[in-house]
Amino acid sequence: MAHFDENAKPFSHKWMNERLAVDTLKRVLSTEYWIPKNINFLWAMGMVLAATFGVLLVSGIFLLMYYQPNTQLAFDSVNYTIMSEVGYGWLWRHVHGVGASVVFLIIYIHMFTGIYYGSYKKGRELIWLSGMLLFVLFSAEAFSGYMLPWGQMSYWAGMVITNLFSGGSLHADGLVEWIRGDYVPGQAFLNRFFMLHVLLVPLAIIGVIVLHFGTLRIPHVNNQDGEEFDFEEAAELYKAGKVKESKVIPFSPVFLSKDVFVMGIYFIFFFYLVFYHFEFAMDPVNFDPANGLKTPTHIYPEWYFLWSYEILRPFSTNVGLIAFAIAQVIFFTLPFMDRSPNVAPASRRGAFKYWFWALLIDMIVLTFMGKLPPQGIWSTVGLIAALTFMGLWILLPIITSKEKKL
């Protein structure tokens, strides 16, 4: 058994140290957790995401106190009780709604930063994979949450997305009914998506966030030049007071001070949206109560799902479903599809540079087309963009294996 000083006052520094090793924890987790110095504000997106998740969690807890997971009451519990009877209920709801949309903007920025700087390679594969797992979990969380107000878009999006599981020509209608708990979205459906949204998925998200942080520890955070250096050596230099010469900074307080500044700017943007521009995150169609006899003229997902929706849409049912399934998982394969040994910004990687921008622009085009009605020229553009997306992923291993070593 360890030695405990009997004279140490309860909860004094020494007392805590003997029981919880607080000094060691602090050192390992913050003051001597080394981050490269050669970074820009995009490196703060992780903390911005953590903060946004926190905001979603807190606002969600407040909403949970008044929300009614009942097909008869859900709509009015959100739109009447929370919006007009609960003090500042409208604020929590708008924060939650805007947060759910903005969190995906930051996730995409975070992802494309990783792709641009090659931060998924050479020992950093698990960072990428756990991050992609978080993307999938956040998608599930967003979708399940979208069901809860039980408006027209909740109902019909629920109908369309669960229908995908019938697998086209496979006609797995039994599976669809099993997922819904009914022939059409109803009480059983709402209840289980409520459970997923407030318990199972958030629990999984918290777990994978811890894993995501854990995967960073050994390979360390990448830097703006993809430079490999000895972190121990740089850390020694820093500790010796040569902060200018050292290539690292401690997580706390140096890296954190920049994160907090970026968060400050971010929250100005965030609350500007919450107070003055929340409509983009709250589709008007969803302010009509769910009605199984009235299909809305246009059914479309929230903006962050549009690109993959558009990969589903331009093809025939079976081909579309296969393309859609591939699009959902293709990003997981990035560390293995990229055959180049170089960890460097895309701008220095020859053909990959064009691949990166082509992918980004193609996904934006897909996003635009995913919302537009699939008619005339829009269908053609959507089809070309979907084929381009597939083509880009086929090209990736070819162009990267030909890449010259830097």
């Binding site: 110095k37 820009n40 504000f41 995009l42 009015d76 739109n79 009447y80 919006m83 007009s84 500042y88 409208w90 604020l91 708008h94 903007l105 920025i109 902060v243 200018k244 900074i249 307080p253 140096v254 001070s257 920049k258 907090v260 500044f261 968060m263 400050g264 700017i265 929250f267 100005i268 609350f271 500007y272 919450v274 107070f275 003055y276 983009f280 709250m282 008007p284 169609v285 302010f287 009509d288 003229t297 246009h298 903006w303 549009l306 980004l360 934006i364 996003t367 635009f368 919302k371 537009l372 009605p373 829009w378």
Partner: protein, 322 residues
């Protein structure tokens, strides 16, 4: 500076993305309908109508213009109005599917030309004549065409409405008179029969018999409405958030131009009437607006100060690092 350049690229892509999924997508998804500035001269009706009705409608609205030029006599109008008051009264019963509205503020909230047209021929004025292939007489207000017939009589009644039924009107009154007989507003505690009465439940049984009786009355009224209109008109509690302001404005002005074939009649609201109705829709559909506008600047100022202090902290922490 490199970091600002990166920020600029991120910002540009974000804005392009926003433009594509919001303003651009919505401009492509919905037919754009021009409003006509609450002028009721039948221009849109004549354009939209079937070929063999064009001449009839042109003549109708030309007559309306002529009547509008006549000088109405409110005193004579009051005598004629007695015929109107037989149906348009407090506690009126449902007539052919719909309950006649109160006209207490008709002079204030409805347009003069529209009122003239309405008395002359309610089906054509409200632009739902396609619903009455057997003529306006089948319209619940069709009998007016046999009661107030001469141009001077019409001018007199309208002059009376404009003089005596034009007092100060609250948003709720304007909404109830113009929309409330067909559209419930549950967040405003309104049914098609008006304000939901306060009732008490029996303490021993826990049942509220008066409330149940009222519910039955509402259900009967709604069934009559649904039979007449083909569908139960939607509850308007949060319609202000379900449709854009432009959509609501042009739709109320002339429902047929936005939703051809709809059973919804034109209501003929003037500027004041429209403003009052919107004020009420906003009150039930977006009640947090005043507090939101009050809280917004405070929160933004907090984060401006927060960001500034964080910047100073960052600067002091990174001192000597470069």
């Amino acid at each position: 500076m490199k970091e600002l350049k990166i920020f600029g690229i991120v910002a540009i892509f974000t804005l392009v993305l926003y433009w594509g999924v919001e303003p651009f997508a919505h401009s492509q998804m919905h037919k754009h309908v021009e409003g006509h500035g609450l002028v009721y001269d039948g221009k849109a009706d004549i354009e939209e109508t079937v070929k063999d009705k064009k001449a009839m409608k042109t003549a109708f609205w030309a007559d309306v213009k002529k009547i509008a030029a006549l000088k109405g006599d409110p005193v004579a109008g009051e005598a004629t109005y007695a015929m109107c008051a037989g149906c348009h009264m407090e506690g009126a019963a449902n007539m052919g599917g719909v309950t006649p509205p109160s006209l207490e503020h008709a002079g204030a909230i409805y347009d003069k030309n529209f009122l003239i047209a309405l008395i002359k021929d309610p089906a054509i004025a409200t632009n739902v004549d396609h619903k009455y292939p057997n003529g306006t007489i089948a319209h619940p207000m069709g009998s007016v065409t046999t009661m107030v017939t001469t141009p001077q009589d019409i001018a007199n009644v309208v002059a009376y409405l404009k003089a005596k039924k034009a007092g100060e009107v609250t948003p709720k009154e304007a909404y109830t008179e113009a929309c409330g007989r067909c559209h419930a507003n549950r967040y405003g505690h309104l049914t098609q029969l008006g304000e939901i009465p306060k009732t008490k439940s029996n303490i021993k049984t826990g049942q509220d018999i008066d409330a149940l009786k009222y519910k039955e009355k509402v259900a009967t009224e709604q069934a009559a409405l649904a039979d007449y209109l083909g569908t139960l008109p939607p509850d308007l509690s949060i319609m202000i958030r379900a449709r854009s302001e432009h959509f609501l404005h042009t739709f109320i002005e002339n429902p047929q131009s936005t939703l051809p074939g709809t059973a919804m009649p034109r209501t003929g609201l003037n500027k004041e009437g429209m403003e009052k109705v919107f004020a009420y829709l906003e009150k039930t559909g977006d009640p947090s607006k005043p507090l939101r506008e009050e809280t917004g600047p405070k929160v933004l100022i907090f984060f401006l100060i927060f960001a500034f202090l964080a910047f100073l902290w960052k600067k002091s922490m990174w001192k000597g690092h470069h």
